[in-house]
Amino acid sequence: MLHEKYANKDAIMEEGEGIILSGSEKASPSRVNPKFKYEVLRVPGGESLIHCFQCGTCTSDCPVARFSDKYRPRSIIRMAQLGLKDRVLDSDFLWLCASCFTCTDRCPQGVEVASVIRALKNMAAMEGRIPQAFKILLGNLIKTGYIYEIPESRIKRRETLQLPPLPKTNVESLTKSLQNLDIKRFLEGLPQKSSEVRVWV
């Protein structure tokens, strides 16, 4: 019975109509998780998700959206509100946010769009869905304190340029500070050599 289904707040509903997606991605019925938006609201940065009224200022002002047919901040926010959890967290487009914060600064509803998207990325990361480039940055951080492995030649060159020696991170102290954060799991599947993936062009 339909009313029974809706009476059970925990029920996972089948979405009747595909949502409108931008560009070439074809909309298909997806599983809707009505509790998902409450999960997002509890993640730091996700608090303002609920205030979005879909005006589209974010997408129209987004520098990335102008050159991507996949990345649409408004759609991401709407998908999160609807509870299309897998479609958002599994996506590649989630990682295309440039964190320029134009959307956040211009949203007439005060939605911190870039921070909501960051919260979604944090949720994806907790489930192990992480682009390789980020794994390398984190691997370098844990090893050296910097997100890049600064080559010895660069450190030497500082002398030639008469720059002061580069301070070395106290990695032991850093490790102690980070030991209770559950971040090691982010490194699963990390390539052995950082040269295998371009980190910064």
């Binding site: 520098p63 440039a98 944090n122 500070s177 980070l178 209770n180």
Partner: protein, 300 residues
């Protein structure tokens, strides 16, 4: 902070020691000339910004650790990277206001004998120049006004966004870098899309999009007949200078726009020599604009 004897602990971050020494070199030179004293910040780590996509908590902790170290040094932080400045500022503000979060972060830091107290401030070099040193003092240090030079500015997103955490600059109509440029005597021209992002943060995720942003910016700068693009961020500089040739190859076009750090432009106006300011580290040949700058008559 008064005019004379400005003193900070300098936080370099990762991108500058990794590959933008021209910025560090020229910044240290001009700050020294302006009487600013810099104390090296010991044992710092990444500000946390690039890893915020993975874990917000990690970013808070990394930046809080840097703030705690600077508190031990007992000086306000000066950064050359707006991304570092923004992240440190934001964490500083959030942890000062949120006692529960501060206690949580301090529990992590205490494992390494550190504590965030909230006793210092963070400034990007542009904010320090405009607020602590002041335009008057900068103008007095100009020995070779760059009269007749036409340049374009690119402040970059993180210098002013998100507005509620940064505060000293208007993201929709940025003026600080413009005023700093005009203090050198050069003309700062307007162009389409001045506040557009450089795309560096997604360069490792989608090359085509970030280089499309580079292309668009450089075309607009060229349309405005600017002789150079002036940046004040290491990441923006990498995109427009080091990656300019990659964009040229990708789109089969030629841009040829030199990209200077603001501190290089200021150094030239102060009468310094290009080799002191790291000009030989630039990828796009700056010889034309250097010639024009050095033409400017040295004031005696």
């Amino acid at each position: 902070m008064g005019v004379a004897g400005a003193k900070y602990t300098i936080y370099l971050g990762c991108a500058i020691p990794y590959r933008v020494s021209s910025y560090e070199l020229s910044a240290r030179k001009v700050l020294n000339r302006l009487g600013v004293e810099l104390i090296e910040m010991p044992e710092f780590n990444c500000c946390g910004l690039p890893l915020e996509s993975l874990s917000h908590k990690l970013t808070l902790l990394l930046s809080a650790r840097n703030l705690a170290i600077a508190e031990q040094v007992g000086l306000n932080i000066l950064t050359l990277c707006p991304g570092c400045a923004g992240t440190l500022k934001k964490t500083n503000k959030v942890l000062k206001e949120d006692k529960v979060l501060r206690e949580e972060i301090n529990r992590h830091l205490s494992k390494a004998g550190l504590e965030f107290k909230g006793s210092i401030e963070v400034k990007h070099i542009s904010q320090a120049l405009i607020e602590d040193i002041g335009l008057d003092r900068i103008k007095k240090a100009i020995l070779r006004p760059l009269k007749g030079l036409r340049v374009a500015e690119h402040s970059g997103c993180h210098l002013s966004r998100p507005r509620k955490h940064i505060g000293f600059e208007d993201p929709e109509n940025p003026k600080v870098l413009k005023m700093l440029i005009e203090a050198t005597g050069a003309k700062c021209v307007e162009y389409l899309g001045e506040t557009e992002c450089c795309g560096s943060t997604i360069a490792a995720i989608d090359d085509k999009i970030s280089l499309s942003l580079v292309r668009e910016k450089l075309l607009h700068v060229r349309e405005a007949n600017a002789e150079a693009l002036i940046t004040i961020c290491p990441a923006c500089h990498i995109m427009y200078d080091a990656n300019q040739m990659r964009a040229e190859r990708m789109f089969g076009e030629k841009y040829g726009i030199p990209v200077l750090h603001y501190t290089q432009l200021l150094g030239l106006a102060m009468g310094m020599q290009p080799n002191e300011l790291g000009f030989d580290e630039l990828r796009v040949n700056p010889s034309k604009i250097l010639e024009r700058a050095l033409e400017a008559k040295q004031r005696t």
